[in-house]
């Protein structure tokens, strides 16, 4: 029995609160293959049998799991199918058998040697995605080793009682087994917020805490514990008072979550009838489904770098068009805002003659790169224009820092449109063209830029970095990265005012737009559209629906009068906790912000 109410802290990976008893999974990673030489033919035959029955057992177990999951979560069965194929692969099946027969090795060591060969082979793979499949091979290897040891029949956790799993690490396949099981939640020592396991936990809606050091040593099997996937806290041997408190918190969270998700596809309109567009940021065409699931009013930022990073050659116009068209058609009749290539020359070293830059954030990237490499730009512009014939498309240029850049980019777009017109290829001749406002120079010039653009989109991630001169990846200064910094607030106000004056809409597509805490102030400042990670959409919409625009304006005006970021942060938090205690407590966790 641990001491009462001991608190461990990890990374919250999947929101929710559960209370239950711990099941600590033994670590198959520490199973060491033993080494033994076989001397007689009989020994060899027995060893071959032992290996084959370990494989048969794994096959039966995996098949059973697959069938169990197929009923409820068919999309997760492919992992288990893959493991079944690996199980019978020549490299992991025939090879160990050969080692037993020809090198007189015991089954464990034969398997170990075979696995090491596969690992070596995969080490040479360059494609990160294909290379990553070694995890699946390893998972099968560990399962077989576990079966051979006879001590454990793999890592199963069938239980008639609800339980909380604790393990050093869980593979995505192991996580998928939790679907429809008695597992209430899980805790791992490894992993981060964006690991496969965390993402799967979110999709299965199983609360999880990851990255909790020493969890398997600190937590004793059978211990009662509270897992808080909202804060990353794990409370060991909670006392009655604490349990009571968390039961109430759990109920409140679940009620909040239900209320927020129920109405996520309805438009977000303030109490006094002012509609606000809440849009999704996406990168892959597949993410459209996620955007729709969470009720996006459109795509406010479609990042287009993926196809350029993914392969050693430049994508063709046809490939780009194909991707864009899919997104545009799927979102129809809602709007899709495509951002042109936001990439640095350094990413193209292998293909173009660019030296690595000392300071890439201030280097040849985004629109600067595209205006230098006009052939690459032209190909993308044609693809975007062609996609515009299939729905509601807007185009925007990243990192605009001067009027001249905006003009040149528009001229190139015009030229591409002219070409298409001559070739009788359809496109939308009224395609709105936007400038991204993410360089302080663009803020200073926003009144003149507003005459050159059909809309603005404020990219807060870069704008904050450049305005405050803060590299968020640098731990020494990361805490000074403050979205509500007075300088940032005044910049936003200036951009909105310029948009109003010119009669063009002002959008925001940085992370700032997806944090519930910032929403009242952003509304009050007059931002027309907010674009964010799809997961944040339901919460943000619910905040908007509970506010009066007048109240938001008052808040923004007060915040603009404050001179320190500490004051503004306190003010925003206090207001939020008074007006919307639930959103203040749970909103950020549900929106995926930490």
């Amino acid at each position: 029995m641990s001491e009462q109410n001991r608190i461990l802290k990890g990374i919250p990976a999947s929101p929710g609160i559960v209370i239950g008893r711990a099941r600590v999974l033994s670590d198959l990673g520490d199973f060491r293959a033993s080494y033994r030489l076989l001397f007689t033919e009989e020994e060899k035959i027995a060893e071959i049998k032992r290996f084959e029955s370990a494989v048969d057992q794994a096959h039966a177990d995996l098949t059973r799991l697959k069938e169990k999951i197929a009923a409820e979560f068919p999309e997760h069965t492919h992992l288990l199918e893959l493991h079944l194929l690996i199980l019978k692969d020549q490299m992991l099946y025939d090879e160990p058998l050969r080692f037993i027969k020809e090198s007189n090795l015991n089954a464990e060591w034969a398997l170990y040697r075979a696995f090491e060969r596969v690992r070596e082979l995969f080490n040479r793979i360059e494609d990160p995605y294909i290379k990553g499949r070694i995890q699946d091979v390893e998972s099968v290897y560990r399962r077989l080793l576990g079966n051979l040891s006879g001590k454990s029949s793999g890592r199963y956790y069938y239980s008639s009682e609800p339980l909380i799993l604790v393990a050093r690490d869980l593979s995505p396949a192991e996580t998928s087994q939790m679907a429809g099981s008695k597992v209430l939640g899980f805790i791992t020592e490894r992993g981060g917020k964006t690991s496969h396991t965390a993402i799967m936990a979110q999709s299965l809606e199983i609360p999880a805490v990851v990255g909790l050091d020493n969890a398997t040593r600190e937590i004793i099997p059978g211990d009662e514990l509270i897992l808080d996937g909202l804060t990353g806290r794990v409370i060991l041997s909670p006392g009655n008072g604490v349990i009571k408190k968390y039961r109430a918190r759990k109920q409140e969270f679940e009620a909040f979550k239900d209320a927020v998700t129920r109405s996520s596809s309805a438009p977000a309109v303030t109490l006094d009838g002012h509609p606000v567009q809440v849009l999704a940021n996406i990168e892959l065409p597949e993410e459209v489904q996620l955007a729709q699931k969470y009720g996006a009013d459109g795509v406010g930022l479609y990042r287009t770098e993926f196809l350029y990073m993914r392969q050693p050659r430049m994508p063709t116009e046809a490939e780009l068009f194909e991707d864009y068209r899919r997104v545009v058609e799927a979102m129809q009749p809602r709007q899709v805002t495509i951002r042109t290539l936001d990439i640095g020359g350094d990413k193209f070293i292998s293909r173009l003659e660019y030296a690595p830059e000392m300071n890439p954030a201030l280097g040849l990237r985004a629109i600067r790169f595209c205006l230098r490499e006009q052939e690459i730009f032209r190909t993308q512009l044609r693809a975007i224009l062609r996609a515009s014939a299939f729905g509601q498309v807007r185009i925007m240029f990243p990192l605009i820092s001067s009027v001249q850049e905006m003009r040149t980019a528009r001229e190139l777009l015009q030229a591409a449109a002219q070409e298409l017109a001559e070739q009788d290829i359809p496109f939308d001749p009224n395609l709105p063209v936007g400038a991204m406002i993410e360089v302080p120079a663009a803020v200073t010039l926003c009144r003149v830029l507003a005459r050159e653009a059909d809309f603005f989109s404020i990219g807060t991630n870069d704008l904050i970095q450049y305005a405050l001169a803060i590299d968020r990846g640098n731990k020494m200064v990361a805490s000074m990265y403050q979205p509500l910094h007075p300088a940032v607030m005044h910049m936003i106000q200036q951009v909105v005012a310029a948009g109003r004056e010119a009669g063009i809409p002002v959008a925001m597509c940085g992370e700032m737009a997806g944090d519930p805490l910032h929403i009242p102030i952003l509304l009050g400042l007059g931002v027309d559209e907010l674009s964010m990670n799809a997961m944040a959409i339901p919460v943000i919409k619910s905040v908007i629906r509970q506010f009066n625009l007048d109240e938001a304006r008052e808040m923004a005006a007060k915040a603009l009068d404050m001179v320190t970021v500490e004051e503004i942060n306190d003010f925003a938090s206090q207001k939020m906790s008074e007006r919307f205690p639930e959103i203040f407590r749970f909103g950020s966790a549900l929106a995926g912000i930490q």
């Binding site: 995969f122 793979i125 494609d127």
Partner: protein, 99 residues
């Protein structure tokens, strides 16, 4: 077995193809290739830069490391060499059904 080029093998079909699907030959396409190969009375080999993988071996196919844009040669021999190669080329052309 994934290994060196074998000069001696006489192939009836040798076709050049390109990996066109977005994610390359990852787990699912590799499994599709295996399923297809099992349906023909033929030895079906994929070759990249002189390295070969038998299409009946999942890990060998993965280890060939074929992201989008990779150039491959289909080599086939046996009674149904032609049909098998044609079916395999079709699978690549349809981008393994990835949409």
């Amino acid at each position: 077995m994934h290994g060196k080029h074998q000069e001696s093998e006489p192939y009836e079909v040798e076709w050049e193809i390109w990996v066109e699907n977005r994610l390359g030959i990852h787990a699912r396409p590799a499994a599709q290739i295996m399923n297809l190969a099992a349906q023909f009375d033929a030895t079906l080999i994929l070759e990249k830069d002189g390295l070969q993988a038998n299409t009946r071996e999942l890990l060998a196919l993965l280890a060939l490391d074929c992201p989008q844009g990779t150039r491959l040669v289909i080599k086939a021999s046996g009674a149904e060499a032609w049909q098998a190669a044609q079916a395999l080329a079709g699978l690549f052309a349809r981008k393994f059904g990835e949409t």
